[in-house]
């Protein structure tokens, strides 16, 4: 047994598992009350659900990137409610850079450069958040609100100024990896592979980011110091760790994840930009951080869950992928808003401690004052 906390791998997402369990139980109950449809239900699970995996991953990707940004910030003790603003900004920058550079360097390169500029823009905006909340010691929630307002105003302003009037159009959508047809025809596994692998570079990089961050957070020097600074900054300070530097670094690097999430929206999911197109993804990411107990893998699990719920409002309502029998009728009768609300409701329930308590890092959101004498 080593002294370092690797055991967390196992325990992180038990709440996500609990929720999944409830869903499975509900499905089973639906089957039992619907014996004649049992065959149809099994058929639905095996044949009609897997094709929706791809959509789930697409919904989950920006949420997960937002959540990784949240984990990076909050593990070091900085609350960042401005992720929504970071993503909106980077989505716009990726679009704009792609649109301008497309004719110059050719489309795939323009899209990639767009991603790069988006990440850079998000990191710059994160630097502002870091400066306000670490150096200036402004209230971190206010600083986050500033980011959101500036991002909303700034993107709408330049969108109108540069895009709407000139009819500028986006660059090519980043190409998706194509996988052999033989693999995709395997029942259940095939669509799963397709969902995970038939994605663009940003979505594909997500899983690397999640696993890498998880390992680094709990086994590397950077991770140890990050967690120490988020839990007890004074203790970290007294052993010579520069608390401000650790926080700056984490907030700015976290911004890179938000940047990838934003760029995903305008270079991989679509090639256009609309005002306010993030539509709350940054906030759902914040919810995923809490739901995933401030761990990358847990947050990723939560993002998948929220992505599944959000995509359900599309997939469960179209006949080809709707569940059979009364369950199908029930789902079809539910308003789309129901699925939209679910992630938020689930988060409130989790925060209320109904399904185990969510305990944030002890110094989360509290500015560190080096000179404080207490």
């Amino acid at each position: 047994m080593t002294a370092f906390a690797i055991g967390r791998f196992a325990s992180i997402s038990y709440r996500a598992w609990a929720v999944l369990g409830v869903i499975v139980l509900l499905a089973l109950a639906a089957m039992l009350f619907n014996v004649p449809y049992l065959g149809g239900f099994v058929d639905w699970v095996i044949n009609r659900v897997p094709p929706t995996f791809s959509l789930i991953v697409q919904y989950a990707t920006p949420i997960a990137f937002a959540a990784l940004c949240g984990v990076m910030c909050e593990r070091s003790g900085v609350v960042n409610i401005g992720i929504e603003g970071l993503m909106l900004t980077s989505a716009f920058v990726a679009f704009l850079a792609g649109a301008y550079l497309g004719p110059v360097v050719g489309t795939p390169w323009a899209a990639l450069l767009g991603v790069g500029f988006a990440v850079l823009a998000s990191m710059l905006l994160s630097l502002l958040h870091a400066w306000l909340s670490i150096t200036i010691k402004a209230d971190q929630v206010i600083s986050g609100a500033v980011i959101i307002i500036l991002a909303a105003g700034g993107t709408a302003f330049f969108n109108q100024l540069l895009v709407s009037t000139s009819g500028l159009s986006g660059t090519l959508i980043l190409p998706h990896l194509s996988i052999p047809r033989e693999l995709t025809t395997i029942p259940f596994v095939g669509p799963l592979l397709l969902a995970l692998l038939n994605q663009g570079p940003i979505a594909m990089s997500l899983i690397v980011c999640v696993v890498g961050l998880q390992i680094l957070l709990f086994r590397s020097r950077w991770g140890l110091r990050t967690r120490a600074v988020g839990e007890h900054p004074k203790a970290a300070d007294t052993v010579g760790i520069d608390v401000y530097w650790v926080r700056y670094r984490n907030v700015v690097l976290g911004g890179a994840f938000a940047g990838l999430g934003g760029a995903f929206l305008t270079t991989e999911l679509s090639n256009s930009f609309q005002d306010g197109m993030t539509g709350g993804v940054g906030f759902i990411g914040l919810a995923a951080v809490i739901f995933g107990r401030w761990t990358p893998i847990g947050a990723f699990g939560a993002a998948l869950l929220f992505g599944a719920v959000q995509s359900a409002q599309l997939t469960l309502r179209i006949p080809s992928s709707a569940p059979p029998g009364e369950l199908g009728e029930l789902v079809a009768a539910l308003p789309p808003e129901f699925f939209g609300i679910l992630p938020y409701l689930v988060t409130i329930v989790v925060l209320a401690g109904v399904v185990g308590r969510a305990i944030p890092p002890a110094a989360d959101g509290i500015p560190y004052d080096k000179e404080s004498r207490s």
């Binding site: 010691k137 500033v146 307002i149 100024l161 000139s166 809490i290 925060l351 308590r357």
Partner: protein, 400 residues
């Protein structure tokens, strides 16, 4: 000073730093003015930039003056050579009552949502939920107002406003109760509840409560008795502003002159000492959030009964979010909130005129608001600059 907050830990509001603990009233006003000025300067830079970016545009350093003048024209002043409905803009008149009415109408919901956020601050609570509370207030008041058939004016409007207050109060009570009883942090729960409100009400206005005769999804129009009238001929100003200013005065009295206000402020400053003093912080938390919610709810009611007259399913408003900026700019003081709301009302009401006259996108107003908030948040920096500036001036005078 160590500020320990509730058991939930996590993100915290420290009213002492938030409310600009140090410095007198005059100094605070000075710092705030500098923040506003700096925000407008950044706006000016963007105006110059946008002039240059427009097709065939050039760098025009006079453009900000033109644009801000157009903004003031649209919000307050008699426009020269642009007097379409200038009945109230008589010869030599300065203030345009029609424009002024629009400005006050835009300020009304901002005052109420600003108060909702500021009131929470005083009890150490960060009420990000004014947006949802505002929507609940708008929905409840218009729904009740639509059903008050045959009820005459003051009664119907009063009942509808009360319904709005109750709707907002419910949306404030939930996070308050979750915080008090379960330790759920209000910043996160209110953010989540904003989305629940927006989506849930969209469903209700689109489904069960949709007006079947309307061309787009919305609830039925309110009855004439529930409409907030416009008392001045030719001015669109409705009674909402009077209600809002009245509530602001009442909130000021409640916070600073009553025993309950003392208790709320004590909980905000030190919840542990509050318990020791015989105050029940959980009760105060719930009460504060409920009252705050009702304020935002009244804001929604004023907007619903005075302007929209119904609840549109796709209600694209940001009055609730703007309330955060208003509360902070107003230093969480009720009168400061009124001032800040009037300023933001001017920006909002005049932005259309500015866009018409100079082709500058209306969203520049949001950027200016964000920059003002940024400078307020970074006021430490401004404070640090102040004595330096004075010292420089002193040396300059000495040298002269």
């Amino acid at each position: 000073m160590t500020t320990e907050r509730g058991a939930a830990g996590g993100m915290s509001v420290d009213p002492t730093t938030l409310l600009g603990g140090s410095g007198g009233l005059g100094r605070q006003a000075l710092v705030t003015s500098i923040a506003v000025l700096a925000g407008l300067l950044v706006g000016a830079a963007l105006i110059i930039l946008s002039g240059a970016l427009q097709p065939g545009g050039t760098l025009d350093f006079g453009l900000p003056l033109v644009a801000y003048r157009a903004l003031l024209d649209g919000a307050l002043l008699c426009e020269e050579g642009f007097q379409e409905a200038g009945i109230l803009c008589e010869e030599g008149g300065i203030l345009d009552l029609r424009a002024l009415g629009n400005t006050l109408n835009a300020s009304t919901p901002l005052i109420m949502t600003g108060l909702a956020v500021a009131f929470g601050f005083r009890a150490g609570l960060f009420n990000i939920g004014a947006q949802g509370q505002f929507l609940l207030g708008a929905f409840a008041s218009t729904l009740i107002g639509a059903n008050l058939v045959g009820v005459p004016f003051p009664t119907a409007a009063a009942i509808a406003i009360l319904a709005g207050a109750l709707g907002g109060a419910l949306w404030g009570f939930i996070p308050g109760a979750l915080k008090a009883w379960r330790g759920a942090h209000e910043v996160v729960t209110t953010i989540m509840l904003n989305f629940v409100a927006a989506l849930g009400l969209r469903y209700l206005a689109n489904g069960p409560f949709r007006d079947p005769g309307a061309t787009f999804s919305r609830t039925p129009d309110i009855q004439p008795g529930a409409v907030l009238p416009t008392p001045i001929d030719g001015s669109p100003m409705h009674w909402g502003i009077v209600v809002a200013v009245g509530v602001a005065v009442a909130v000021w009295f409640l916070l600073f002159k009553t025993t309950l206000g003392f208790e709320i402020r004590t909980v905000g400053a030190n919840p542990f000492a509050a318990r020791y003093a015989g105050i029940r912080p959980r009760l105060i938390t719930i009460l504060t959030m409920t009252l705050a919610g009702s304020m935002a709810g009244v804001g929604g009611a004023a907007e619903g009964l005075g302007i929209t007259k119904n609840y549109p399913a796709e209600y694209g408003t940001s009055y609730g979010f703007d309330g955060i900026a208003v509360a902070l700019l107003g230093r969480a003081h009720p009168f400061g909130v009124v001032g800040a709301a009037l300023l933001f009302g001017v920006l909002r009401a005049g932005a259309g005129s500015m866009q018409r006259q100079t082709d500058i996108p209306i969203d520049i107003i949001t950027i200016v608001q964000g920059m003002i908030l940024l400078f307020v948040a970074a006021e430490v920096v401004i404070r640090r600059l102040l004595p330096a500036a004075r010292a420089r001036r002193a040396t300059a005078t000495a040298a002269a």
